[in-house]
């Protein structure tokens, strides 16, 4: 089946194949994405992030079940790390999502990070568009287990749930920058364990001391993914947040910013690629002169720019 037609007909095999082509940077994928673009923008995109072992996959599993119970369809992109040494990856998020495999309203794709350091795979951005055009009501992206600064998820998601667990460190951890600042909702998972209430208090304190003006102060929800505790509330808060940002026009604004950022990245990527291809010789010559102190890098840059402008 032709790629675009297959996606619009909700054929999972085609969606899976297109995502593979995206991962391989195959030109056929770009052709399909061009045609699918006008069919995107209808899914809510939810990012789930947090440290390794926090229970992200189990929470995604439970959340997706709740969304399905409300008649919504759900696409899931679960990212796990690629080994920087072998290029291989062990993708194990599906182990926690076995209940969902045969649900016709669910599509799960495991994705290896393949060298991206921001917590999600480069191909995830376009994979989201595939599932969006496919017609999924919700798309959940589960990041790799993150530390503190892998926050690329904000570049793709409409909202972010940060999953934390008790016992990861003292309250200084909560003051640190990075993932703590991108949460629209906090889920304190494994909250049947000791220290859960203390963690909730610490997050509350961090939020109270924050100078940031919240449109909506991030709620903190205690969950136990393995037994389903708190999942109803989490799902309710997610819908609440999404309707709030939609009604206030914040969602549209956020998506415009994301579109802008994505387009800027695309321009930068292709322009620099083009310059390196076309002006490779000049760059090398200038580089030699810079090393030999014949010219300084700033003047060299100006020379290069002039040659590009004149050349066009």
């Amino acid at each position: 089946m032709e790629l675009v037609e297959g996606i619009l007909k909700k054929d999972k095999k085609t969606a899976a194949r297109l995502i593979t082509l995206i991962e391989r940077e195959d030109p056929k994928a770009i052709d399909a994405l061009k045609k699918l673009y006008k069919h995107t923008g209808n899914s809510y995109i939810i990012g789930i992030t947090g440290p390794p072992g926090a229970g992200k996959s189990s929470l995604v599993n439970e959340l997706a079940k709740k969304m399905r119970a409300k008649g919504k369809t759900v696409g899931i992109i679960a990212v796990d790390p690629t080994s920087p040494f072998t290029g291989g990856a062990l993708l194990g998020d599906r182990i926690r999502m076995q209940d969902l495999t045969l649900d016709p309203g669910i599509f799960i794709r495991s994705m290896a990070s393949r060298g991206s350091l921001g917590g999600i795979a480069k191909a995830a951005y376009d994979a989201v568009n595939v599932l969006d055009a496919f017609g999924m009501d919700y798309i959940i992206i589960e990041t790799v287990g993150v530390g503190q600064t892998e926050i690329d998820i904000v570049k793709v998601a409409d909202m972010v749930v940060v999953v934390l667990v008790p016992g990861l460190g003292d309250d200084v951890q909560a003051i640190k920058a990075g993932i703590m600042e991108i949460a629209d909702i906090f889920a304190v998972n494994k909250s049947d364990r000791e220290g859960a209430d203390k963690l909730v208090t610490e997050i509350e304190m961090m939020l109270d001391l924050s100078q940031k003006e919240f449109d909506l102060k991030p709620p903190i929800i205690k969950t136990v993914a393995t037994t389903g505790i708190g999942i109803d509330e989490l799902e309710a808060k997610i819908s609440e947040h999404l309707s709030y940002i939609q009604n206030k026009g914040l969602l549209e604004q956020k998506r415009k910013e994301k579109t802008r950022e994505k387009f800027m990245e695309l321009i930068k990527f292709h322009i620099s690629k083009m310059i390196f291809q076309e002006k490779g010789d000049i760059i090398e010559t200038l580089l030699k002169d810079i090393s030999n102190k014949v010219i300084d890098p700033y003047t060299a840059m100006e020379k290069l720019l002039q040659s590009i402008i004149k050349g066009e």
Partner: protein
Amino acid sequence: MQGERTIRVLIAKPGLDGHDRGAKVIARALRDAGMEVIYTGLRQTPEQIVEAAIQEDVDVIGLSILSGAHNVLFPRIMELLRERGIDDILVIGGGVIPHEDIPFLKECGIAEIFTPGTPISQIIDFIKNNVKK
């Protein structure tokens, strides 16, 4: 610019079989050989395995079985793949499988059966030489 071709493998444990040490060792070895390995956990039905293979668009399905039900479960998986129109996934099996059962399993479409004691390098080479996509 075309990205490097990465082999994607689904390692699956069909049926009622609670032991996955072997499956995990294979998964780890294939990962170290540069492959992307999706492991789906214990007690999978043939339907679940085939659906996961489709959504993950894998090149290879590796079935690990120790329960003795291979003569039922392996053919069923091959049948489901055919029903879904899939003929470009390499399916291999491993585990406690008597030698006399192997010809039948190959007839059903399993490309190779690896029994205990097989060097892991042999499995890696077989996959690299036989992926169909």
